[in-house]
């Protein structure tokens, strides 16, 4: 072993904090340079005057935020919020029963889990296209409806808010099922048996034992669905029409066609603040719950 290597290791031995930072260093530098700093610059850009050909000029102005917080754009914000909330609610309704069944499915558990996880691993773009293929006017659903004589003309599904909502639910449902499953899995069946012996009906057992004990998973699932839905771009871009723009599309538009970087940065900063807000609320709820259980 070379003396230099031994000396370095000896020095690290005496300085445990330096040891930690030697490990953290490379990754931290990368994340600071390519994530933290860019986000800070973006926030700064949202407070600067607009450049003529994209970009910004030096100066300070609240113009971008004033523009964002007027009815034309607040409608987009509201629409995004409603879509994310509806998506979360639908995912709960569809996902909870599935998670419940998987948690109590015995030897089928792994197969069912695999079926839930598989879409999560497959390309989001491909999955979105699969929906287009089914939902467009000349798509499979309409062609079957026409053939069966159920409708005379194709139903317009694509480029509507219905399509966007379907896309969001389809895209994020696994994020709801998995955490709920994880907390239902830990539920001690003895609790339910005890309740049964004491005369509780199935509905009461569910409402008073299963549901409260699965709340941590339910709350985590809601966060994991709500956050990506709030910042989603691709779903509304491909499945929605011009009237179903979400805030993600507004941001993208300002950087591509409209070339108003400060305004795009402001909208993007608002999305980020909303997401962080959702995370903070989640952490609050989670901490209170853990304290409550103990």
């Amino acid at each position: 072993m070379s003396t230099r290597r031994r000396r370095l290791l000896g020095w690290l031995e005496r300085h445990p904090e330096a040891q930690a930072w030697a490990l953290l260093g490379p990754g931290t530098i990368w994340m600071v340079v390519f994530f933290v700093i860019p986000v800070l610059i973006m926030c700064a850009y949202s407070l600067m005057p607009r450049g003529t050909y994209g970009g910004v000029e030096v100066g300070f102005t609240l113009e971008a935020y004033q523009r964002f917080f007027n009815p034309v754009y607040l409608i987009i914000l509201e629409r995004t919020f409603v879509a994310a909330l509806l998506c979360t609610a639908l995912c709960v309704l569809l996902g909870y029963p599935v998670a419940y069944v998987i948690a109590r499915s015995g030897r089928w558990k792994n197969v069912l889990l695999f079926l839930v996880v598989l879409p999560f691993w497959t390309s989001f773009l491909v999955r979105t296209f699969a929906l287009i293929f089914l939902m467009r006017d000349t798509g499979l659903i309409n062609s079957w409806l026409l053939k069966l004589g159920l409708v005379r003309e194709p139903i317009t599904m694509l480029y509507t808010s219905f399509a966007v909502l379907t896309g969001l639910v389809y895209g994020f449902l696994p994020f709801m099922i998995l955490p709920i499953y994880a907390s239902l899995e830990k539920l001690d069946p003895a609790l339910l048996e005890a309740a049964e012996i004491l005369g509780a009906k199935p509905a009461a057992r569910f409402r008073r034992i299963t549901l409260p004990l699965s709340r941590p998973g339910l709350v985590a699932g809601c966060l994991l669905v709500f956050i990506p839905a709030l910042g989603s771009f691709l779903t509304s871009d491909l499945l929605g029409g011009a009237k179903e723009l979400l805030i993600g599309n507004l941001v993208q538009n300002q950087f591509t066609t409209a070339r108003n970087w400060p305004f795009g940065s402001a909208a993007s900063t608002v999305v980020m603040v909303l997401v962080l807000g959702a995370v903070l609320i989640y952490l609050r709820v989670r901490d209170r719950e853990t304290v409550g259980v103990i």
Binding site: R5, L12, E17, Q19, W21, L23, L24, G27, T28, W30, M31, F34, F35, V36, P38, V39, M42, Y45, L94, G95, V98, V101, R104, G106, L112, L115, L118, P119, S123, F124, L125, V126, R127, F129, A130, L131, I132, F133, T138, L140, Y170, P174, P189, L192, E193, P228, G231, S232, F233, L234, G248, Q252, F255, G264, S265, S268, V271, M272, V275, L276
Partner: protein, 262 residues
């Protein structure tokens, strides 16, 4: 488990799982359909796959995706694993803030990551291309790798390394001979996640790709936008098959690693 599940609940679950998979099954089936415009089944064909192989832009994009995915995976696995080791084994000041910073990229919407990266690159006049795509992909993959590896590390016995060092190995030898082999399943899972996220990313890539470089998602997005012919079904099918094969291989590799450490 005691109580039997009510039949309606089983039917509901089956329906939801079917809805998750049916669109993909349909997509794959129609990649073999001869008719170009209608969804009527006419005849079996491999025409759309042949059409893909003729397209230069797709082959070029595939090459771009593999270069970016491969290098982004290697880099983010290296950086992420080191971070996980520091978090699992060391105490240091500012740890809470550090963890918050680590989770931030995971919750930040892709669109925000994409435009802020674009702003930085334009500000410092870096030409856009495969290199900038790779840089961006590493930035969003590192936290995921760190979290996955950390999960594996927290179940691991630190004393094994101490034992190796008592037997004469220095820290570096103990790291390569003991820590890395034991961590292997975690590293593999992190690498799989990083690669698939990179291979699938459209939103961030679209901002930092520039006009000269391209990856598969960029080309597929263009095809979906123009809504042309079943070639999209064919390329989607190939991507689905590749994903399943990759999942299968990594599962086998990590199973083997798991049996080795027993």
């Amino acid at each position: 488990m005691g109580a039997r599940l009510p039949r309606w609940l089983l039917a509901f679950t089956a329906a939801v799982l079917a809805l998750l998979h049916l669109p993909l099954v349909v997509l794959v089936a129609f990649s073999f359909n001869a008719s170009k415009f209608s969804v009527e089944w006419t005849a079996f064909t491999l025409n759309w796959y042949r059409r893909l192989a003729e397209r230069r832009d797709i082959l070029r994009a595939l090459r771009g995706s593999l270069i970016v995915g491969g290098s982004a995976t290697l880099l983010s696995v290296a950086l992420g694993t080191l971070i996980a080791l520091a978090l699992a084994r060391h105490r240091f000041r500012g740890r809470t803030i550090y963890e918050a910073m680590l989770y931030a990229p995971i919750v930040t919407p892709e669109i925000v990551v994409g435009i802020s990266m674009l702003i930085l690159l334009v500000l410092v006049h870096v030409p856009l291309g495969l290199a900038t795509i790779t840089i961006a992909h590493v930035a969003f993959s590192v936290p995921f790798v760190a979290v996955v590896v950390l999960a594996r590390l927290s179940g691991m016995d630190e004393h094994l390394e101490e034992a190796a060092m008592t037997l004469g190995a220095d820290e570096i030898a103990a790291f390569w001979k003991i820590t890395v082999p034991l961590l292997w399943p975690g590293i593999l899972a992190g690498a799989l996640l990083a690669f698939i996220m990179s291979f699938d990313d459209y939103v961030i890539t679209s901002f930092v790709a520039g006009s000269g470089s391209s990856t598969l998602p960029l080309v597929i997005y263009g095809m979906v936008r123009r809504n042309i012919e079943p070639s999209i079904n064919a390329i989607s099918t190939l991507i689905l098959v590749a994903t399943v094969v990759l999942l299968y291989l990594s599962d086998r590799m990590s199973r083997r690693a798991a049996t080795v450490d027993e």
